[in-house]
């Protein structure tokens, strides 16, 4: 469903992606792992068109992601940002229903609010949260609201950018389980970037290891521990010894 072919992206002298190739099949959950600053977020933003790659091709359903109707393209995606990226000036329900209150998916405000409250329930938040502002919520609750917003319009493809960063282990587990449930329930194609191994095991069908701007290894999550790939082994073990330099 999503294919990246020989994608390059540099910021001045910093060559972040150096020929990244990746295939994500429809209805599967792909998790990209890799150290901080290895270009995981850049890869994700290249697919969405938030960053333009310097070279290479990105296809979604076999079509060039840069061509065609941009609104229709983006309407297929939902995204949970690392810091949730909720809009401060809007209430929680207006954040969740953002897409349903404007544009091609616009619905009456009452209906949009009902859908927003239903999605909030789906991520384990009560209806009384709906009229609060994001600043009044804890980090874990903001992540859940971000998740509710990502699934509000029932997208075909959902991206999760570091979904458990900054959360305690219990809340991380809750978010991981929610993501897995939602992806399975909706039959969506998911792409998650993380360096949290508990998230990888909870969310992934397939795993890809990104290092030095290229995918070093990719395969099913149940083969990850026996991959034989030195990068993956070092990443799983968390060892300072190995091909990944501890000081970058």
């Amino acid at each position: 469903m999503i294919r990246m072919e020989n994608v390059h992206k540099a910021f001045d002298e910093n060559r972040v992606l150096q020929g990244m190739n990746l295939d994500i099949a429809k209805g599967t959950s792909m998790v990209i792992i890799g150290g901080s600053g290895t270009g995981k977020s850049v890869a994700l933003k290249c697919i969405l068109g938030l960053i333009q790659p310097d070279s290479g091709m990105i296809y979604v359903d076999g079509k060039d992601a840069r061509k065609g109707d941009r609104d229709a393209f983006l309407a297929r995606f939902g995204m949970l940002f690392q810091g949730a990226a909720l809009f401060d000036s809007l209430t929680v329900w207006q954040n969740v229903a953002f897409r349903l209150l404007r544009g091609s998916l616009k619905r009456p405000a009452d209906e949009a609010r009902e859908i927003a409250i239903e999605k909030l329930r789906r991520v384990g938040l009560k209806a009384d949260v709906a009229d609060r502002f994001p600043a009044e919520l804890s980090g874990g609750m903001q992540k859940r609201v971000g998740l509710a917003r990502a699934i509000a319009a029932e997208p075909e493809i959902i991206f999760f950018d570091e979904p458990t960063t900054g959360l305690d282990p219990i809340m991380s587990g809750v978010i991981n389980d929610l993501i897995r449930e939602i992806v399975t329930e909706m039959g969506a194609t998911a792409m998650t970037i993380t360096h949290d191994m508990s998230s990888v095991r909870a969310i992934a069908d397939n795993v890809a290891m990104l290092h030095a701007g290229v995918i070093q290894w990719t395969g099913p999550v149940d083969q990850m521990d026996a991959s034989g790939d030195p990068y993956v082994e070092q990443f799983i073990s968390g060892s300072a010894e190995g091909p990944i330099e501890a000081v970058r």
Partner: protein, 260 residues
Amino acid sequence: MNPIAWLAELGRAVLNLLSAFGRVTLFALDAISHIFRPPFYPREFGMALLNIGWLSLPVVGLTTVFTGGALALQIYAGGARFNAEAVVPQIVAIGMVRELGPVMVGLMIAARVTSSIAAEIATMKVTEQIDALVTLSTHPMKYLTAPRVLAALITVPVLVAVGDIIGIAGGYVVATQNLGFNPAAYLKNTVDFLEPLDLLSSLVKGAAFGMIAAIMGCYFGMHSGRGAQGVGRATKGSVETAAVLILAANFVLTGVFFSL
């Protein structure tokens, strides 16, 4: 320093300046074009009207009332040197309407509104809210920039008109209470002396300064660097640039109206 190296430095600075001017101009044209192209966001426009217009009234009123009062005292003191104290109403009126009203309001808007727009949009950029807007099929220029620019274009001339009136009122109070002017004669002289062109120049300047203030806030916000330092730099840069451009635009517009 080697003259060639000095020349190269100068050339680089000029090129950077021209390049920045080009980027700002393209951004401004893009922002203005989005005002006329759907979709429109009435809620954001309403909020911008409230923030830029209504909530700026106190600072505009206080600034212009003190400026008008001080202007009356200065004209009286200066006029007394050649027995021309009687021109206080006329000079306060023309000074406020043609020059000080628009400039003081423009600078206050740069301080209050430009900084607020730049800080808000820069924070949105740093916290990925701008990226989130894009992924939610919403164009940031339409949702964030166009409503603010349109609101500033409409409200700042109104604020300037209000500022002109309050400034003249400040001069009136000082002149009638402290300098012994007859209230009725002061008002008559003020009204008789002002011409429609004076009012027009005031409003046109207000519209131009409003556009500059909003566009600079949006431009620096959208192009801010990372982290708290990036937000700080964007805010500082937006106010400095808006203030300088407002004063430069005032000079140009004054020249244009002077020639009419």
